[in-house]
C-alpha cells in the first residue's frame, strides 16, 4: 500500500493519526536540523516536518537526496502546525515523518511546476506531462471532466441515448478537407475520419432512436488558425419529431443546467436574434451582447451632402461609445491605427466627439456642422461615435471588430457575466464568387424554412440556429431535410450531378425512402464551451495533449516518417 490518505484531505481532526502519504516533492525548506517538505498530489499539498533530532539516520540520509519533483512515500503522525497556513486546506496540520522512501527520482524539470511557470510555450508543449502538473492546467481538465459528466447526466435524464458512430467512414469532397486512412485489406481505397457524425446521426433518427447524443472526436484537415485543432470534440445531438423550438428549448435547458451545476451561475433566458439583424447591429453573426454599442446605419442619411467619402460608399455604419468623449487625441488615433491594420483592413475611421458641454469635435467637422453631426449619430453628451464606410460587407465586419476592441479597452467584456443568445434565420446558401457556385452556409442537410427553396436560392432562409455566448460560437444546428426529393434539389443547387450525389450520399438518399421522420439537432464544440465557461478564448489549455499550429504533437514528435514496409503494405508511394 502506498498511501492511507491523499495530500489534500488531512485536517485538525486527524491529529495524532498514523498516516502514509505519497506524492511529489514541491519544495524543501531546510533550516539546519529542522526540515519542511511540501508534498503534492492531485488533491493538494501536505507539509511534512522532519526534526533531525527525532528521526533515524536513514530518514536524514534519504531527505538529503531529495530534490524537486522526486516521488516519495512517507509514514508519520499528523500533528498541529505551529503557525497555520490558511491558503491551503491542510494548513492547520503537518506530518511528523517517521520514515521516508524514494519511489522515483527526478531530474531538475525544464521549467518550474508552479501556477505561474517560467517555461515558454514550446517547452511546455514538449514536456506537456510536466505542464499538466501545474494547477491551472490540471484544474482545467478536471473542470472538463465534471462538465462532460453533467452533459451526459442532463441528456440521459432527458431520454437521450449515447450511441457510438464509426470513425472509419467515407471521404466526401464537400466542405472542409478530410483526413484519410489508406486501407490495407481493400488496396487503393481509403477511409476518412469524420468531420462530424452528421449523416450517421441522421440515419439513427431514421432508425427510430428519437434522441441521440455522443461526445465525440471530429477531424478537419484545415490550415490551422491560432486556435484550431485538427482533432476536436463535439457534443453531437439529434432529435426526431421536433421543430426548431423543441430543439432550442432542450438545449437552452442543457446550457443553463451546465452553468448552474458547474459554475453556480443562473443564465437569463436566451434572446433570439436573426442572422440579418446580428450582422446589421453588430457586424458579426456571433455578437457579444453583454454590452450595447449597436450600430446605426447612415448609408442613406449621410449621403448626398457633398462629402465624397460618404457619397461614394456603398455603406456607412457607426456606433456610439458611452464616455468615449473622454478619449484623448492619442487614444483616438490608436483606434484609427487599429482599424487600419491589415488584419482589419479599414481605410480609415471617422470619429465624432460629443462633449459634455454639448460641443462637437470630429474628424469630419470640415464637412458637417455640429447639428448635422448630432443628428447623424443621435449621440448623447459624453459619447464618441465611430463610423466606417465603404463596401457593405467589409464595413460591417470592420466595425464589428472595432466594437469588440472598444469593449475590451473600456472593460465592458465582464469576466463574471455570461450572456447566451440564439442566432437564427441564416441564408441557406452563400454565393461564392470565385467558384461561381452556391455553398451551404451550414451543411447540405439543413432544411430551408418551411421546407421550401425560393426560386432565387440566395433568398432562401435556413431552419438553422447557432448558440453564441459572449461573442463565441459554441454550437450550431438545424432542422434537417428528411425528404429525398428536397435533398436532391439542394445537392443540385450545390452543383452535384445526380451521379455525384448518389456516389457520396446514396446511402442517405436511399434511407429517406423508408420512412424518415422529421428531425433536427445541434452540435456543440466541447473544447470551446469549456474555455468560454472559464473566460478563456484559447482552447489549447483545456485539451490534455493538443497539437501546435502546424498540427504537430511536439511531445511525441508526430506526425513522423513510417517504414517503407508499411507503405508497401498499403500499396502507396510518396511522390
Amino acid at each position: 500500500m502506498y498511501r492511507t490518505h491523499n495530500c489534500g484531505e488531512l485536517r485538525k481532526s486527524d491529529i495524532n493519526s498514523k498516516v502514509k502519504l505519497s506524492g511529489w516533492v514541491q519544495r524543501i525548506r531546510n533550516k539546519g536540523f529542522l526540515i519542511w517538505i511540501d508534498l503534492r498530489d492531485r488533491y493538494g499539498i501536505t507539509q511534512l516536518f522532519i526534526n533531525s533530532e527525532n528521526v533515524s539516520d536513514d530518514v536524514i540520509k534519504t531527505t538529503k537526496l531529495l530534490g524537486r519533483e522526486f516521488v516519495i512515500s512517507i509514514d508519520g503522525k499528523v500533528i498541529e502546525r505551529e503557525a497555520y497556513n490558511n491558503k491551503i486546506a491542510t494548513g492547520e496540520i503537518e506530518i511528523s515523518v517517521d520514515s521516508i522512501e524514494i519511489l522515483n527520482k527526478s531530474e531538475i524539470p525544464p521549467f518550474t511546476i508552479e501556477d505561474e511557470s517560467d517555461g515558454g510555450d514550446e517547452l511546455r508543449m514538449k514536456y506537456r506531462y510536466l505542464d499538466l502538473r501545474r494547477n491551472p492546467i490540471k484544474n482545467n481538465l478536471i473542470f472538463r471532466n465534471d462538465l462532460s459528466f453533467e452533459i451526459r447526466k442532463y441528456l440521459k435524464d432527458n431520454g437521450f441515448i449515447d450511441i457510438e458512430t464509426p470513425y472509419l467512414i467515407k471521404s466526401t469532397p464537400e466542405g472542409a478537407r478530410d483526413f484519410v486512412v489508406p486501407s490495407r485489406i481493400n488496396l487503393g481505397e481509403f477511409y476518412a475520419l469524420p468531420q462530424s457524425p452528421q449523416t450517421f446521426k441522421q440515419l439513427l433518427m431514421i432508425s427510430g432512436f428519437d434522441k441521440y447524443f455522443q461526445i465525440v472526436k471530429c477531424f478537419r484537415d484545415e490550415d490551422l488558425r491560432a486556435d484550431r485543432q485538427p482533432e476536436f470534440t463535439q457534443i453531437d445531438c439529434e432529435m426526431s419529431f421536433v421543430n426548431q423550438d423543441d430543439v432550442i428549448s432542450t438545449f437552452e435547458g442543457l446550457i443553463k443546467y451546465l452553468f448552474k451545476n458547474c459554475l453556480n451561475i443562473n443564465l437569463k433566458d436566451f434572446k433570439k436574434i436573426s442572422y440579418g439583424e446580428a450582422i446589421e447591429k453588430y457586424g458579426t453573426d456571433k455578437p457579444d451582447t453583454r454590452f450595447e454599442m449597436d450600430f446605426f446605419n447612415l448609408s442613406e442619411k449621410a449621403k448626398g451632402t457633398g462629402f465624397k467619402i460618404f457619397d461614394e460608399s456603398e455603406a456607412i455604419y457607426g456606433f456610439n461609445v458611452k464616455s468615449g468623449a473622454e478619449l484623448s487625441r492619442k487614444e483616438i488615433d490608436s483606434y484609427v491605427d487599429w482599424v487600419k491594420r491589415p488584419q482589419i483592413g479599414a481605410l480609415g475611421l471617422i470619429w465624432i466627439k460629443h462633449n459634455m458641454d454639448g460641443s462637437i469635435k470630429s474628424s469630419i467637422d470640415k464637412f458637417f456642422d455640429a447639428d448635422q453631426l448630432k443628428n447623424l449619430t443621435n449621440s448623447s453628451p459624453g459619447d464618441i461615435s465611430f463610423i466606417i464606410s465603404g463596401n457593405k460587407k467589409k464595413t460591417l465586419t470592420q466595425l464589428g471588430a472595432l466594437r469588440i476592441e472598444v469593449a475590451e479597452r473600456f472593460g465592458l467584456r465582464n469576466n463574471k457575466e455570461f450572456e447566451a443568445i440564439w442566432v437564427t434565420d441564416f441564408p441557406l446558401f452563400e454565393w461564392d464568387e470565385e467558384s461561381k457556385s452556391y455553398h451551404s452556409m451550414h451543411h447540405p442537410f439543413t432544411s430551408p424554412v418551411d421546407g421550401v427553396i425560393n426560386k432565387d436560392p440566395s433568398k432562401t432562409f435556413a431552419n438553422a440556429y447557432d448558440l453564441v455566448i459572449n461573442g463565441n460560437e459554441i454550437g450550431g444546428g438545424s432542422i434537417r431535410i428528411h425528404n429525398k426529393e428536397l435533398q436532391q434539389k439542394v445537392f443540385s443547387i450545390l452543383g452535384f450531378s445526380e451521379k455525384e450525389a448518389d456516389d457520396q450520399f446514396g446511402f442517405l438518399l436511399n434511407a429517406f425512402k423508408y420512412g424518415a421522420p422529421p428531425h433536427g439537432g445541434i452540435a456543440f464544440g466541447l473544447d470551446r464551451l469549456v474555455a468560454v465557461m472559464n473566460n478563456d478564448e484559447t482552447i489549447r489549455d483545456y485539451i490534455a495533449f493538443p497539437k501546435n499550429n502546424s498540427g504537430r504533437d511536439v511531445m511525441i514528435d508526430s506526425p513522423s516518417k513510417i517504414d517503407n514496409q508499411q507503405l508497401d503494405d498499403l500499396n502507396i508511394k510518396l511522390n
Copy 2:
C-alpha cells in the same frame, strides 16, 4: 408539435385524453369499415382505431394510402380496448383517431422489421438503419448506453477523471499493425490511429492524475477474424500509487456494480488463477469456470506401458464428463470427428466409458485393462473420460476446445449464470520461433513481478492480470514499468536498439526521468463486455454501424477511392 406522448406510455388512466402521437406504421388490419393500425416508436407500440363511420373522408382517404413503415402523426382520443392485449404495456387502451397526417412515405422495406427478421446478414448490414429499428438490436444499443453511463458513474464516484487523449498519434512498428493517416501540412509524414491510449495514460500518471479513465475508440489494422472489428471501444483506466491488489479490487468492484445495476445479478467474489494453472487445468488462459471437467495429467502415469501412442507423446491429458457414459457410440464418434476437424487438428480422441455397473468400455481397451483405465482417469461410474496426447501445447489447446464443446452439448454453459475470474502471473515474454526473438505477452510497458527480470527472460513473470467472464477475455492490465532503466532493459530484450527505442518511445523514457510514480491499470473491451452480459458471443449486434469481415462498411460503401487531387495534396501515389 409532433406529439404529446410517445407510443409506449399511454395507460388506462389516460382514457378520454386528447393525444397526438407520431411514429411508424408497424401493421394495418382492415376489417371492412373498422381499421386498426399498430403505431411504433422507440418506446413501444400503441394501437390506433379508425371507425370509418365516425371519421372524416380525409382520414379514410389518408388511411388507404398507408403502408408498412410510413411515418405518420395522428390526433385522437384514448379509449379502452374491447379486448386487452397483455403482451404490450399499452395493451389496455387504443386511440380513436380524429385526424391523420403522413409525415413521410416508405417503400416496402427489403426485409421485415420484426424481432425475427427474414433478412440475411448482408442485406441487413446494407440497410443497417432499418435493422436498427428491430427490437433486439435497438435494445442492445440501449443496454450499451445504460452500461456506459453506469461505468462512468462508478468511476466518477471512485475519483476517476475522464480525460480525452489524442487520436492522431505516432506509428510504432511494435505489436499489431497501425492505421496511418498521411499529413498534408507535414508532407511525407504520417499520424497513426491509436491501438490504445497506453502511453498517454501513463503520461497522465506522470502528470499526477492518479485516477484516469476514458471510454475510447481504438484501432487495429489486423486481418479480421469472425468477431473482430478494425475499430473497437475500450474502457481504459489507469491508477497511480497502486499495486496489483488495489487495481483488482477497484475493477472487481466496477464489474460487480455493473452486473448489479444493469442486470440485477450479484456476482460472487472473483477467483484468482495463475496463467500456468489455467493452461494446465483448462487448456486456455480464458477458461469458462462455470462447470468442472478439470484436466488430469497422464503424461507421466500413462507412459511406459507399451501403448505406442502414449509412449511417444510429449503430453497426455484428459478430463471426465459426468453422465458421459450415456453417450451412444454415434455421439462419441461425433466428438472424435469434431477434434479431428482442421480447426482443432487433433490426430484422435481416446475415450473411456465408466458404466454405472462399473464396467469399462474404451477405444483403448485392447491396450489397458479395466482397472488400469479406472486408475488412470479416476472416473466415477457414469463418467466418460476423453484423452488427447501429443505435443504438449497443442494437446492442451485441443482438449480445452473439446471441454467447451462438451459443455455446450451437455448444456453446462448456463445462460443465467455468470462467473468472473482473474488470471494472473503470465509470462512477461513469449519466445517466437519464427523470428527467433522475444515478444511481450501483454505489451512492453508491463512490469515484471517485483520489478525484476530473470536472467532467463522466459522465466520472468508479468505483474499482469486478465479478467475472464464465462470463458471470454473481457479485460486485461498490469502494473507498469515506471523506471527508465528497467524499461530500456525490456526494450533491449525485445530486440530494440537504443536508437529505435528512443525514436519510438523517447518521450516516455524521457518522462520517466521527471518523477514517474508507480502505476498500473486495465482496459476492458466494451463491445465484448456488452455482448457477454447479454449472453452473446458476437459483438457485431452491439455496435450501431459495424464493419464486415473485410473491414468494409457496406452501407456507406467504405473504404472507397478518393480524388487524385486529394492524393496530390497528400503527396502520395498509389502503386
